[in-house]
Amino acid sequence: MNSATLSRVLAEGDGDFLQEVAEKVLDIAEVKVIKQPATGLVMMRARDSVEGIIFNVGEVLVTECEVELDGARGWGYMLGDEPAKALAVAVIDAAINAGHRFKDEMLRLLGEQREELERKRRVEFAMMDRTRVKFETMEAIK
């Protein structure tokens, strides 16, 4: 799993699942919290499609934290006020970065979670696809 996919699974994965995986890591490894989970804002920027300029759309509430495991850092970011989930993500991230012995098992579990997310995406697309429309032009009203 490349790091882009991993960060997607960690950001969108089921909260209970992520916390279970993190618990397994915490059972056998010592994790130092560098930055406690706290809420912060991310100013969202976008590029407009007329001139291509970048502008500030508005802020997004996130929870962020940072931990250390066997000398490796882990970052946990989550949309909304979600301290437990953010911490779980940071722990998992650190365990992967540290090459923890639980790593392969963790990646397997995260792989399953990715498939679940992809399935949800497909269902979402399918329901949207049912509203696909083809309008016919009628004769002009004289």
Binding site: S3, A4, S7, R8, A11, E12, T39, G40, L41, V42, M43, M44, R45, A46, R47, D48, S49, V50, E51, G52, I53, I54, F55, N56, V57, G58, E59, V60, L61, V62, E64, E66, R73, W75, Y77, M78, L79, G80, D81, R119, R121, R122, V123, E124, F125, A126, M127, M128, D129, T131, R132, V133, K134, F135, E136, T137
Partner: protein, 369 residues
């Protein structure tokens, strides 16, 4: 003369707050869960997030509960909450061509690459009061969900969830203005290079990036009213909706470890591109385009924003909707509601001085006659 404040009334104010709570609960119905508001009043939640300028669905729903459904009050509460949280990051510029579409229509072309998708809409539904909805209970809701989702799991088509934009097709044909690589781009849009109206005072003329930011956090009622004035004839935009999209965009920040990027999640937005009449610059007639983008599912806001983006580009403003200062000074819901609400505060001393002046003027006039 300046405003002279009053003091006192603490007990009455405290009792009034209690009374407010009583009015919310006196019906005796089950207290409404925040999650219910977030799920079932999603358009109100989106409105509050847009006007509160904070994407936080659960807290927007909580603010709506606290404000008893008053969206302006709720966005005020949300914006106040926003001011207590530190801004730690700037996102990488969101590229809306990466949007996972849930709705996409064009009023300009019937055939667009990727096709038109109606998505969740009531545009083609008669506005008849749905009496059956009054009977909705958990059982009926569960029954509907099961029926709706049936077959979707297996029959899900593998298809593109992102589409190219209509405006880019027009641009390829040379029908709209060229993409102008602005000075801004060279810095990759770092924090210091993009104007931020929450950090610097707005002066006029306001750069377009500042106008777009002000509109993204604008209040829909105000924006719609001014955009409508232009649509009706106080101006000559004659817009055609090139494309309207609703969907999720990926939010990414530079990775805190120093290299690469970090995906934080997906944010629901509405985007509109409005094609306006020809502009005749350097002799070649072309279409001009107005752009709208806001948090959540809010189509009227995105369309109003795109129209106002276009009207405010007028070289010689003739109408209110074309005047940047007029538009931008009147679309912020917190400012406008705050100013209107402040008239309810005691103005006893200022009004007393008005009274005194009026009486003495009348007296002088009476003496003269």
């Amino acid at each position: 003369m300046g405003y002279v404040a009053v003091k006192g009334g603490v007990e009455a104010i405290e009792n009034a707050e209690e009374l407010l709570k009583y009015f919310r609960l006196k019906g005796g119905s089950k207290p409404i869960e925040v999650k219910q508001i977030q799920d079932q009043l999603r358009l109100a939640v989106d409105k509050v997030m847009g006007e509160g300028s904070l994407y936080a669905p659960y807290y927007a729903a909580l603010a709506l509960k606290q404000a008893e459904g008053d969206t302006i009050e709720a966005s005020f509460i949300l914006r106040a909450y926003r001011s207590t949280v530190p801004r730690n990051h700037y996102s990488l510029p969101v590229d809306t061509t990466e949007m996972h579409i849930i709705r996409r229509i064009s009023a300009a072309f019937k055939d667009i690459p990727g096709g038109q998708v109606l998505g969740p809409t009531r545009d083609y539904t008669q506005r008849l009061l749905d009496f059956e909805l009054a009977e909705e209970d958990e059982e009926r809701a569960a029954c509907f969900l099961a029926g709706f989702l049936e077959g979707l799991e297996t029959g899900a088509p593998e298809g593109p969830v992102t589409f190219s934009k209509v405006i880019d097709l027009l641009r390829e044909e040379g029908l709209v203005e060229e993409f102008q690589a602005k000075q801004q781009d060279k810095t990759g849009g770092r924090e210091d290079s993009v104007m931020d109206i929450t950090r610097e005072t707005t002066t006029f003329p306001c750069p377009r990036e500042g106008r777009l930011q002000a509109m993204a956090r604008g209040e829909i009622g105000g924006m719609l009213a001014i955009a409508y004035s232009s649509m009706r004839g106080y101006g000559d935009i004659h817009p055609t909706l090139g494309e309207l999209r609703v969907g999720y965009v990926p939010l990414k920040i530079p990775h805190p470890r120093g290299t690469g990027e970090l995906y934080l999640g997906r944010v629901l937005v509405t985007e509109a591109e409005v094609i306006a009449r020809f502009a005749d610059e350097d002799g070649t007639p072309k279409f001009t385009v107005g752009y709208g983008l806001c948090f959540g599912h809010n189509e009227l806001k995105a369309v109003s924003m795109a129209i106002l983006d276009r009207t405010m580009s007028a070289v010689e403003p003739q109408m209110p909707a074309e005047d940047q200062e007029f538009v931008l000074s009147h679309i912020d819901g917190i400012e406008s509601s705050g100013f209107a609400a402040h008239w309810k505060l005691p103005h006893y001393v200022t009004f007393q001085s008005d009274l005194d002046r009026l009486r003495s003027t009348q007296k002088r006039k009476g003496e003269k006659n």
